[in-house]
Amino acid sequence: MGRYIVRRLLWVVVLLFLVSLITFIVFYAFPTADPAQLRAGRQPNPQLVEQIRHSLGLDKPWYVQYFRYMKALVLHFDFGRSYHYNVPVRKHILDAVAPTASLVVGAAVLWLVSGIAVGTISAVRRGKLIDRLSMGGALVAISAPVYWLGLVALYLFASDIGKVHIFPGAGSYTPITDDPVKWFTSLILPWIVLAASFAAFYARLLRGNLIETMSEDYIRTARAKGLRERRVVLRHGVRSAITPVVTAAGLDIGILLGGAILTEKVFNIPGVGMVAFDSIQNADLPIIQGTVLLGAFFIVIANLVVDVLYAFLDPRVRYA
């Protein structure tokens, strides 16, 4: 197991290296705008633009630029400076991690709990009214675009513009260190909106798996032993049917930690997604590169965690 994890971690490094190279080439080959021109202000004279181009190293070929970037990154963990804001990229992005993490972790708790509960009940009551209703609802939830759901939620429930004034509206995010209560209430709507489609997806996934599992021989054995139905379903059924849910959860959380762009935008939460979106608008390559690397990092780490978790959940899985 130890060897396996080390080998995987080495692969993570190679993968991140590849991702950084691809990002660099993509944004070098398809520039959104000339960063030197952007930096030079409203009425750039050509001399100033040239000077900025030179001082940012933009007049060098791409591989020289890439080499310089990677050198600073590897040796000093330095992600460079933003072209647009002229601040260190590392701090700019790391400041945005807390809001994104608040959003994603809270939503993940919500969608796992509700998805597993609904999926289990639906599987046990298969074909009954409650199953049909919840699976119908789940399909609708999967099909709704998250930003639209967010707008509808704000229209109905936001305390400033909503029909019923219940929850704080967009732009009310407060850091947990400032005021934990406000932090919590400001995130209730975003959590529900972000969690909706995931909860629905997990409920469907678990239901399908659980129905298949419940027809296995060992479930009959468990019942024949005289175990209570509750224990048969939860300990023997759900325990084995839940592995794909764990995989999906790990990967989804990993992807979202790199920035939940749509939800953050609708609720105006200053997270990584907003930073990334903003940097693309500004052709701010150092920040784009930083957010892509951060996002890729979360994704590959999530992959690794999921694979390791598998070995604990399923005793048959052994890595060499």
């Binding site: 520039p31 399909l139 675009p145 639209w148 399908g208 298949e212 920035g259 608008q281 784009i288």
Partner: protein, 285 residues
């Protein structure tokens, strides 16, 4: 349910194809016809009425006909992007799975790297840069619809390639492949005449499952301002437009969103139905 969904999709496709006719039959104005007489005295858009079934947008354009024309964009992008990504994914999957060895290693690692990307970010970046001036890849990808199609196809083919590769790895060991080889069939013939026909069922299922995702993807890109350029109507762009005024002009947000929801729902239902029909193990629900 799947049949009702299929009927709805046929209806949707017909609506999209005959959009001008539909709009005329209902008696609505064309989608790009701003009329200030439908704005109130403060210049704000007015809601649903007998003149404008779904109300008007801030420029005084008819939301109903824009929603109808929006179906064109949505379906066009979803279907072409799905076809492209499936074609590329199947080709790469076939080659990697059939030849194995270093070809497989290179392709699989490339797929791993692409799957590690935050795809919405990548799509936004490529979309934003290709939407400027003469487009990108030497003018091959022009700003507008083709950018969205290119971006969606580019980020989606990897999933298909992975699945197909896995299937080909097991298919290539079957007796019928050996038999074909013994008869002197070329690799190309084995791949396309022997193996590919066995993959038709999974390809159909995955294609129908990707279409709704791609409809949502196009809308998300348009919502974020990358994608279909104004004044072309797109559901995502309309919702983005409505973000600033949805507290007063609810109709501008609700109708495009509802159209999007119904479309995606219909494709999801159809996909579920096809999966149950083509995969006996998953059925019985």
């Amino acid at each position: 349910m799947a049949l009702a969904a299929a009927a709805f999709i046929v209806f949707l496709v017909l609506t999209a194809v005959f959009a001008p006719l539909v709009v005329k039959l209902v008696g609505a104005r064309p989608p790009n016809d701003p009329q200030s007489k439908y704005l109130d005295s403060f210049g704000a858009p007015t809601g649903p009425s007998s003149h404008n079934l779904f109300g008007v947008d801030p420029l005084g354009r008819d939301v109903f006909s824009r929603v109808i024309y929006g179906a064109r964009v949505s379906l066009e992008v979803a279907i072409i992007a799905t076809a492209l990504s499936v074609a590329l994914g199947v080709l790469v999957g076939l080659v990697a799975g059939y030849y194995r060895g270093w070809v497989d290693t290179v392709l699989s690692r490339l797929i791993d790297a692409l799957l590690a990307f935050p795809i919405l970010l990548l799509a936004l970046g490529i979309g934003a840069s290709c939407s400027l001036g003469n487009g990108c890849l030497g003018g091959l990808v022009q700003p507008g619809l083709s950018v969205v199609i290119f971006v969606i196809a580019f980020v989606n083919w990897t999933y298909i390639a992975r699945i197909i590769r896995g299937q080909v790895l097991s298919l290539r060991e079957k007796e019928f492949v050996e038999a074909a080889r013994a008869l002197g069939a070329s690799n190309r013939r084995i791949i396309f005449r022997e193996i590919l026909p066995n993959l038709v069922a999974p390809i159909i299922v995955y294609s129908t499952l990707i279409i709704p995702t791609n409809v949502l993807f196009e809308a998300a890109l348009s919502f974020l301002g990358v994608g279909v350029q104004p004044p072309n109507p797109s559901w995502g762009a309309m919702i983005a437009d409505a973000t600033d005024i949805f507290d007063t002009a609810w109709w501008y947000m609700v109708f495009p969103g509802a159209a999007l929801l119904l479309t995606v729902l219909a494709f999801n239902l159809l996909g579920d139905g096809l999966q149950d029909a083509l995969n006996p193990r998953a059925g019985k629900s």
